[in-house]
Amino acid sequence: MATTRATASKTRSDPAKNGVVVEALHGLDKETLHGLLYQMLLGRRFEEKTAEAYAVGKIGGFCHLYIGQEAVTIGSFAALRPDDYVISAYREHVQALAKGMSAREVMAELYGRIDGCSRGKGGSMHLYSAKHNFLGGWGIVGGQIPMAAGVAWKIKYRKEDGVILCFMGEAAVNQGAFHESLNMAALWKLPVIFIVENNRFGMGTAWERASSLYDISQKANAYDMPSAVADGMDVLDMRRVTMEAVERARTEKIPTLIEARCHRFMGHSMSDPVHGVYRTKEEVEEAKSRDPILTFIHLLKEHDMLTDEELNAMDAEIKEICEDSANFADESPEPGLEELYAHVYAEENEHGLLFFDRKDRLEAQ
């Protein structure tokens, strides 16, 4: 039941140049293509700024960077409407940005400040925006997958026509939560697209050392669910494959499993090595030769869709946004003591103790 790699057709509007549709560019116009590049570059520069801030101790805790995988998010998000939902794991900074959250609120969260999207209580792994239907931001591998089915359940329950993209790393595929969720989604026809970002390494364990079956997309067969493999280093391929899945989910309430084959150029988190016992430096260099942003820039230039001036201007604007976000975060206050007990409960009942550590004494400090 796997979907084929049929060439995209319906989306080709605005003949790119001389009235001729450029096959290699999926028929997209310059503005759309620049938008994709802009989003990827924003993600890259933001993560570079994040690494810088982490190195000097401005950001603490676990911090998982997305560098190398930008095309997966930016390509798949191009298939969404603004009111569609996204839920993800803990490598989600770029997804938060791509869903429309400001660099300021994301960076301030990484800094643990009150102006962060989660008021400094979540941190790198727990970014959310109710306004943008960005549902986070979950730190237990696979935990977000059943929740995605629940969001899709709500869409079906209320007879809406939205969809949800659910991101996970390939290592999450071995969790029971993955299999339980795919079964429910297929059984109950829920409009959810599961996107597995296969960067081949669950921390330091290679996929072939973790799964008896190499081809992740085949796992959908067990649930009679459509699946597809996408080139996660190619933003246009990601967009094409996701559009097919989104269309199927929106109109027919059929879920899809997409395996996006990609590479992470960094270590698992900021505290982990880029290479070492689990992969060689050469492997990483080889992967970097397929850098999704450089490849896309090259493609656009090849088809006269991008000039150096345009690229430099775009990059300068993005760097300014990232710089500004870091300055904003730096100046934002840390959450005060009054925040410690705020938001544990949405409803503090009229009767009885909800906190057992003499909250009154702490508040008096």
Binding site: Y85, I87, G116, C117, S118, R119, G120, K121, G122, H126, Y128, S129, A130, L135, G136, G137, W138, G139, I140, G143, I145, P146, M147, A148, A149, G150, V151, A152, W153, K154, K156, Y157, G176, A177, E180, S181, N183, M184, L187, A342, H343, V344, Y345, A346, E347, N349, E350, H351, G352, L353, L354, F355, F356, R358
Partner: protein
């Protein structure tokens, strides 16, 4: 007031709240076509249809997580665990997702979900089907926990749980489903979370307890009355939020306290309550707080072994005598 069983009271609570709020739905194993493993959801599928009374595969982690996701975007799921023993497969979603959602999102999202089902031992179900797990659930900030012991409390607390904005765990009991009691007819009858109930007034010693142990405490009180001892039985009903005022008031009255619970003692509810009593009412105590709980073993199958393992009336009487230096 109508007399009905604990089971019927829960069924009424579900039906009334589902009628009142179209966002409320019930999901779990055998809740629909089979009418519930313990018939709590009898007739609801017929009344509300299959989008609102949903039979699930045996996939506790999956459907608990589905509920959490649905609650995150505005629905009000009631997730039934066939027993809370099986919830151990799903606690990642309860503790890591539901309990932390409001906090980790900086207040952006809420998780108005109910997890419910029978808890504790029945008869000879042995180790994996006899666990009282409310202490574990009460440990996590972000979760609320109620343990009704009577039909009226079952109805009032379940309705309050469904209307609450936070995740609430409702611990029922198989051995209580057939017990009968008076239940108010008012469709807006609710029992607010965090309010204890003095099930029997007394002046000599207080037994604090919750859930089905309320009945064991009342039996012990009856027997002690024959010996001239007046026992007060305080049913906490809600473990989080906890009615500390009712506890302090009763200790101030009797000056002697026993905690009775079905689950294990170590890190149990009784330990916490004993600690709170010495923290809030140390000067009122005339004796150390005594605790009665399950033997510190997995529940055995054999009848006599099981009886020894369970906290029974004799042990409660013994504990009351101990704190009264009788």
């Amino acid at each position: 007031m109508a007399v009905m069983t604990y089971r019927e009271a829960l069924n009424q609570a579900l039906a009334e709240e589902m009628t009142r709020d179209p966002d409320v739905f019930l999901m779990g194993e055998e809740v629909g076509m089979y009418n519930g493993a313990y018939k709590v959801s009898k007739g609801l599928l017929e009344k509300f249809g299959e989008m609102r009374v949903v039979d699930t595969p045996i996939t506790e982690l999956g459907f608990a997580g589905l509920g959490v996701g649905a609650a995150m975007v505005g629905l009000k799921p009631i997730i039934e665990f066939m027993t809370f023993n099986f919830s151990l497969l799903a606690v990642d979603q309860v503790f890591n997702s539901a309990a932390k959602m409001h906090y980790m999102t900086g207040g952006q999202f809420t998780c108005p979900i109910v997890f419910r089902g029978p808890d504790g031992a029945a008869l000879q179900l042995s180790a994996q089907h006899s666990q009282a797990l409310e202490a574990m659930y009460s440990h996590f900030p972000g979760i609320k926990v109620v343990v009704p012991g009577t039909p009226a409390d079952a109805k009032g607390l379940l309705k309050a749980a469904i209307r609450d904005k936070d995740p609430v765990c409702v611990f029922e009991a198989e051995m209580l489903y057939n017990t009968k009691g008076e239940v108010p007819d008012d469709p807006d009858f609710i029992i607010p979370l965090g309010v204890a109930d003095v099930k029997r007034e007394g002046s000599d010693v207080s037994i604090f307890t919750h859930g089905k142990m309320v009945h064991v405490a009342l039996q012990a009180a009856q027997q002690l009355e024959k010996e001239g001892v007046q026992v007060e039985v305080v049913d906490l009903r809600s473990l989080r939020p906890l009615d500390i005022e009712a506890i302090v008031a009763s200790v101030a009255k009797t000056h002697r306290a026993v905690y009775l619970e079905e689950g294990w003692g170590y890190a149990g509810i009784g330990v916490t309550i004993s600690s709170l009593i010495q923290e809030y009412a140390f000067d009122e105590l005339d004796a150390p707080v005594a605790r009665v709980h399950q033997a510190d073993v997995p529940m055995p199958y054999a009848k006599q072994l099981e009886k020894w393992a369970k906290p029974g009336v004799e042990r409660v009487i013994e504990a009351c005598n101990r704190v009264m230096y009788r």
